[in-house]
């Protein structure tokens, strides 16, 4: 097995042995269980005259509540990725764990790629597993399934991967705590900058709008989150938001358009750049 795959396997094995996967599994089952119960309650809600809500209103309510629940899921995934990636390299340098490994015929790039790959696999598997479970629970409780479930899972996973990549890059130079905290703050700032950009769109203020654009380029987590939102919205809701014009676009929990192809192309390039910078940075690091 090539060294980068050995390192990737070791990263996955560590998460498993340290019971991180078990903790995430239990928490996910709890959240999905509670949210299924909550979603089920929507179907029992009645109007003032005692009649149940019509199906299109149930779908609208469910889609909006699903966006909030998914925001929490994607947040947990992004935070976990940042917190786990932050110390991924720095902690092993500080403890001396990497000394004996790097004295083997192993390139530093293989260590970086292996660790990224191992954690990326965990992020992707968790996004696919937890997301599918939540969607199945919502479908069971309300009969509502978002229009683009696969895209939704891909966007949520990709958002987690951006935080993982940023945390890993910082981890090649900074201590685990510092790297993790910076990645978390960057994620929140990117989200706020996205909201500022929305406000700029609503007010038709180019300067504010540019804040959103630049933040999506520097850290594409918020841009990917918007893609996830779009994948969850029913067509009727999108049409209604579009009808509102620029005001309809000024909402951090709504999206009137899918992410443009140019942005998705940039996301791929961003991952390549982040990984390359991580390799170059770690290669120059004195151990």
């Amino acid at each position: 097995m090539p060294p980068f795959l050995v390192i990737a396997r070791l990263t996955i094995q560590e998460s498993s042995r340290r019971r991180l996967l078990l903790a995430l599994l239990i928490l996910t089952l709890l959240v999905v269980g509670f949210s299924a119960w909550g979603f089920n309650k929507i179907t029992t809600v009645t109007r003032g005259d005692g009649t149940p809500l019509p199906p299109d209103q149930v779908a609208l309510l469910t889609s909006q509540l699903l966006i909030v629940v998914t925001f929490m899921f994607s947040g947990v995934l992004a935070l976990s990725a940042a917190v786990v990636a932050g110390p991924l390299i720095s902690a092993e340098v500080e403890s001396g764990l990497l000394l004996s490994i790097l004295a083997r015929p192993v390139r530093r790039s293989e260590v970086v790629i292996g660790k990224w790959l191992g954690l990326a696999a965990l992020v992707a598997i968790y996004a696919a597993f937890a997301g599918s479970l939540e969607l199945a629970a919502v479908d069971w409780a309300t009969g509502y399934l978002p229009p683009h479930p696969v895209e939704l899972l891909v966007y949520v996973a990709a958002e987690g991967l951006t935080l993982l990549s940023l945390g890993l890059l910082l981890s090649t130079r900074l201590s685990g705590i510092t790297a993790g905290v910076i990645a978390l703050v960057a994620w929140l700032m990117a989200w706020i900058a996205g909201v500022v950009g929305d406000i700029g769109t609503g007010l038709q203020n180019q300067a504010l709008e540019n804040v959103g654009v630049f933040s999506h380029l520097i850290l594409p987590s918020d841009g990917l989150w918007r893609g996830a939102i779009y994948a969850m919205e029913p067509d009727t809701f999108i049409a209604a938001m579009r009808a509102l014009g620029t005001a309809g676009r000024a909402n951090p929990f709504a999206a009137t358009d899918p992410p443009p192809a140019s942005f998705l192309g940039w996301v791929v390039a961003w991952f390549a750049i982040a990984l390359t910078l991580s390799i170059l940075s770690f290669r120059r690091r004195e151990i």
Partner: protein, 318 residues
Amino acid sequence: MALAERTEAAASYEVAAGTPAVRTVELTKRFGRTVALAGLSMTVPRGEVFGFLGPNGAGKTTAVKLLLGLLTPSSGEGWLLGKPLGDLGARRRIGYLPELFRYQAWLSASEVLALHCELAPLPRSSWKDEIGTVLETVGLSDRANDKIGTFSKGMQQRLGLGAALLGEPDLVFLDEPTSALDPVGRHDVREIIRGLAARGTAVFLNSHLLSEVEQVCDRVAVVDKGRVIASGTMDDLLSGTAVRVRVSGLVQADRNKLASFGRLDDEGDSLTFTSLAADRVPELVSSIVAMGGRIYEVAPRHQTLEDRFLQLLEDEEK
């Protein structure tokens, strides 16, 4: 074509096999304004046990990390087993026990060794025997399946030593290999080093435990403040004789005159002359008697590495 490549590779290996285990030329490392290693030039022949001595902070660990490619030299060059520093091929035949030894707490001893077998890389068919042999060598056979998190520091150091021995390497770096071991463990390490030397493995031993080095090393270099202040075989370094004379009736002026016999350690009623040739002992005794001194005991002994080490550091201070 493939045959030609194989022949070339074989020829290259044969050339490499005749080269020293370690060779450095003016290897230097600076951290900002601090010079951690200043122009290290040395050669460690194949199959020798080489002791790299020095006080704490002298630059010993920096030298090892430079040789293993963990640090980048500020200037100078070096070769391991005939290959330039950082060469991946050379690392296949090298073992390393770091001073800061730490292994995955969530793996068992066997799993850590299997990981190193895989990264070394050794043929999978040989792993079981390799792991069994090194666990036996370092005395951890009965803890093979226990998690490293339950190991004491000494046991972790033994495990690290075991990992360094996997695959019968041509060169082994041991950085303070007994720092966490009890006297029994230290004895075991000396036996392991002797075993490595017997099978032709070169050992680069970083240590400040002089008695340990004295017992196992063929050749030593003493480093202080980043510079090598002495090097050679053990016989070269310890050629002098130390003589302790118990005496009374000498005034200070007489004691000062006696310094002409060599470095004098004056402890009142006891004078110790280090690096004094054995054939000058009668002359020393005559001189003391001529000065009116009363001699109670003359005890010549061979200079120890500790005597020589302290003397070198003292000379360096001057």
